[in-house]
């Protein structure tokens, strides 16, 4: 990767890499926080129908245009995106918990526990992710609960693999072997040798889980298996816009999607910067 780090003129102004990374983290987090909190800031004002202002293209008054009932699309999109982000965060956090628990169990206990967990991960990888999501969301009865459970149950696999590998690697390292010989208890070793290695992996893994979780939540809602149409999550708004496409109201579909893309990008960016900061190879420089 060293070749890609070509220093540009901008980098000299923006300070060293560590500072830029910190700025990146702050900016990404602020962006996401702003979207999540936006419904409480802008209020419900834009959501009420204004039949005099129907189907208006984007303008200064309505940056995202208005829909077929005259509702402001920017407020609707922000409300929907905030809801999707919160659901995604909840599901991804649950998923990270499952992943960490099973990864640690597989790595430390070994034997048949490891074999069973590895097997479960393999089975999960052998089905298309979306089909698995649809099956689980359907089986638990759909709705918001269905989305949260489906997303939480299907995103833990790669994190579990990473943590299992990390634990196995640390476990076989010389200093841990030495610690054992010196009479340290397994708990002490876990606290002082495992946790410092696993925590950064967990943090980065968790942040990089969010974009997937949010995209899959949106996809499930879009095809109609997720949230009910009365709760306008971002996927529902996009699905509604499908009905008005042939009339040429392009902004109904384009603008909410841009917001979704930006949110996912912000998470990606946040994850990459946190990884840069936590990785000893790149954190100072």
């Amino acid at each position: 990767m060293t070749t890609t780090l070509v220093s540009s003129p901008i980098s000299q102004f923006a300070g060293n890499r560590r500072r830029r990374t910190l700025w990146g983290i702050a900016l990404g987090a602020l962006c996401l926080l702003a979207i999540i909190l936006s419904p409480w800031v802008i209020g419900e004002g834009g959501l009420s129908p204004m039949l005099t202002q129907r189907n208006q293209p984007p303008s200064w008054a309505h940056a995202f245009g208005t829909d077929w009932l005259g509702r402001d699309m920017l407020s609707r999109s922000l409300h929907g995106m905030s809801l999707s982000l919160r659901i995604g965060l909840l599901a991804a956090s649950l998923s990270a918990l499952i992943g960490t628990g099973l990864g640690l169990a597989a790595g430390t206990l070994g034997g048949w526990v490891d074999a069973v967990i590895t097997w479960i991960v393999d089975v999960f990888f052998s089905l298309p992710h979306l089909v698995l999501l649809i099956l689980i969301a359907f089986a638990v009865g759909g709705g918001t609960k269905g989305v949260v459970i489906a997303v939480a149950l299907t995103h833990w696999t790669s994190l579990a693999r990473v943590i299992r590998a990390e634990v196995l690697q640390v476990n076989s390292s010389d200093y841990v072997q030495l610690s054992h010989r010196l009479g340290r208890s397994p708990l002490w070793i876990a606290r002082h040798h495992m946790v410092p290695h696993v925590i950064p992996q967990l943090l980065v893994g968790l942040i990089l889980l969010f974009p997937h979780a949010i995209l899959h939540e949106a996809a499930l809602s879009f095809i109609g298996i997720g949230l009910s149409p009365h709760i306008p999550a971002i996927g529902i708004i996009l699905a509604e816009s499908m009905r008005h496409l042939s009339t040429g109201y392009w902004w109904l579909g384009v603008m909410p999607g841009v917001l979704l893309l930006l949110s996912v990008k912000a998470f990606d960016w946040l994850g990459e910067n946190v990884r840069t900061l936590l990785d000893p190879k790149t954190s100072q420089g």
Binding site: W119, L127, P128, V131, I134, I223, L245, W250, L260
Partner: protein
Amino acid sequence: MQLRRILVFTTQKLLRLGLLLLAVAIFTFVLLSLSPIDPVQAYIGADMMQISPEQRQLIAERWGLDQPMLLRFGDWLGQLAQGNWGTSMVFNQPVGAVIASRFSLSVQMLAIAWLLSGLLGLGLGIVAGALAGTWIDRAIRLYAYTLASSPTFWVALLLLIVFSVSLKVTPICCAAPPGQLAADVTFWQHLHHLLLPALTLSIIGVASITLHTRQKLIDVLHSDYVLFARAQGESLWGVIHHHGLRNLILPALTLQFASLSELFGGAVLVEQVFAYPGLGEATVQAALRSDIPLLVGIVFFSALFVYTGNTLADLAYPLIDPRIRLGG
């Protein structure tokens, strides 16, 4: 010797497939038996009000729903193994027939998308890797990173808005012009309806193969043997042709075969946007209208599909790299 190796390989693969399908069966069965969905209600649907509790009891007994779980699983597995996959309630046809007819429409789209995304991804990756650090490289990387995080159904929507609504060059829905019998659809009409969904799937599938190929090519270009070749006067594109491609093609192929799983998922969303009556659309129908036999059938079929992809990758390795032997 060669024959024996192929035999061992085939047996191994079939055994693994059997185990995998068994695992999927256990998983699906446990999931659906724990689910709050009442199978009798799902079967009868809206007519539920006209059925007395006694009749309901009778149906449950006839289906063996009062049996213990393990016995039911055995029964169900036996039926599946005999090829009785049940009847799809939405399409009122045997599940096997529905999957076969729907997949025959999807497979053309998937094949075009798979080939196109593989070639495009490899090409873009090589260009980006060879010109690493230039603005072309930056543009390609930006494109790949952006696509990697955009929602599939939204990209499909965008293309639909641009090409079908604004430019009117592609049809807005379905696999054939409306009102035309399936038998009368010409090849060109069919291709015309297929093109945009396939294109959507392929431009989304490009991201990971581009980024991996780029990274791999950069690694190759920094190796000692490339330095030596350059010192002997070989040009950059000569190096890529003689040293790069051999190293790139294997990981690219692995990725591309592994992407079949994502491709299948992408097809579900893309078919939904384009109202293309393929297997993905049937999946959504099955879940929305509680068609459990069809949904279970599709779950099995998708597992088989992904497994076939991985097996094909295993078969392709010895053809590309003679040092690799079948079955390890």
